[in-house]
Amino acid sequence: MSCSRRDFLKQSVAGAVAAAAVPTVCTVIFLEPGEAEAAVEGKKLRWTFLVDTEKCVGCGLCVQACKTENEIPYDAPVSRTWVERYVVTKDGETHIDSPIQGRDGYTSPEIRGEVIDPEDIEKAFFVPKLCNQCDNPPCVQVCPVGATFQTEDGVVLVDRDWCIGCGYCVMACPYGVRFFHPVTKTAEKCTFCYHRITEGKQAACVQACPFEARRMGNLGDPDDPVTKIIMTERVQVLKDEYGTKPSVFYLGLDERVR
């Protein structure tokens, strides 16, 4: 194989130009959460979710609605969304539980078989959880067959006909939101109620919540009330250090919530 000096130089220059072009393309895709609005400029629709933990009373109506709406067997110990209870006692201990994912609400002060004296409680609160619809979803990266993906409007979905049930995504998710559907035997996760939001309805959990602890909006629209809150108030995401860039933002999150 021979290569003239002229050809070698030509190919080197072409290679350098191509290498320089790659990072320019990549920077369009992932940005810091704070720059979310800038990142979606030009895109019309980017679904986002706002959880106000100050408003949640732990009634569990969201879990009930989610399981019914999305045909998750009602008595199976799995759910696309769930509510956690945190009770912090004065000795600094944190008691956490989520019996049957909070589906039947919190109707007893008993937590993991223990009744804590109200005098000993420093603070206690409820935290609803669901899929964070990450901008940088680890569950999608690990799928070996392309059965899970991110739609153009930022929702991560599972292709039930294509999923082989290997469970890599279940292990990859740092938030533990994925599970196997007991009937279809494929990977299952929150879809932001894709069938409802694309028709202009509210997600089932958002509609069911009496206290507006759950809200949905469009990050692509600066006039959207939820987007305004995310941009102007002190919101947090879960496990920011993982670099997953969640689309679910929390108001009033405590450091004990993981």
Binding site: G60, A65, T191, Y194, K201, A208
Partner: protein, 155 residues
């Protein structure tokens, strides 16, 4: 070259061709990169349609109010106006055409989801009117005395 060298070569090429032909027929036409990123947007376009076409169950209180306007008005004027009809009455899909009667949940447990008093400072829960479910008329349905549509009025 000798035949015994070429024979495995043809076999290997034949196998590769067979895999490529099988792949051509087995992978759906709409499978590919639909978006900016191969990592995140490599999928079957039909899967998006599947989730868009998933049947909705909850209809929302506006639809309930179209026929049950009297109940809708009563509850809208009460403290329970923030609660969706379907949270207690069940999802309204198919009603009234195929599902004549919705399975209303009038259980004590449903009310206690909010009204079991939990002494949780820093949570809205402790500010809701609440009872101790173990001592306040145990095992009796709340709606025997309280009207869930007009919770202000005590029976």
């Amino acid at each position: 070259m000798k035949n015994h060298v070429l024979r495995p070569l043809w076999l290997a090429l034949g196998l590769i061709a067979a895999v490529l032909i099988a792949r051509h027929f087995m992978v759906p036409d709409d499978f590919g990169v639909h978006g900016d990123s191969f990592t995140y947007n490599f999928y079957r376009l039909g899967a998006v349609k599947y989730w868009e076409d998933f049947p909705a169950k909850y209809q929302g209180r506006e639809r309930c109010g179209k026929c049950h306007d009297e109940n809708a008005e009563t509850i809208a004027a009460s403290k329970h106006s923030i609660i969706q009809c379907e949270n207690c009455h069940g999802p309204g899909v198919g009603h009234p055409k195929t599902v004549k009667q919705l399975p209303v949940n009038g259980s004590r447990e449903l009310c206690l989801r909010c009204h079991e008093y939990l002494a949780y400072p820093s949570s809205l829960r402790s500010q809701l009117p609440g009872i101790d479910g173990n001592t306040h008329k145990p095992n009796k349905e709340c709606r025997k005395c309280h009207d869930p549509h007009q919770p202000d009025l005590e029976g």
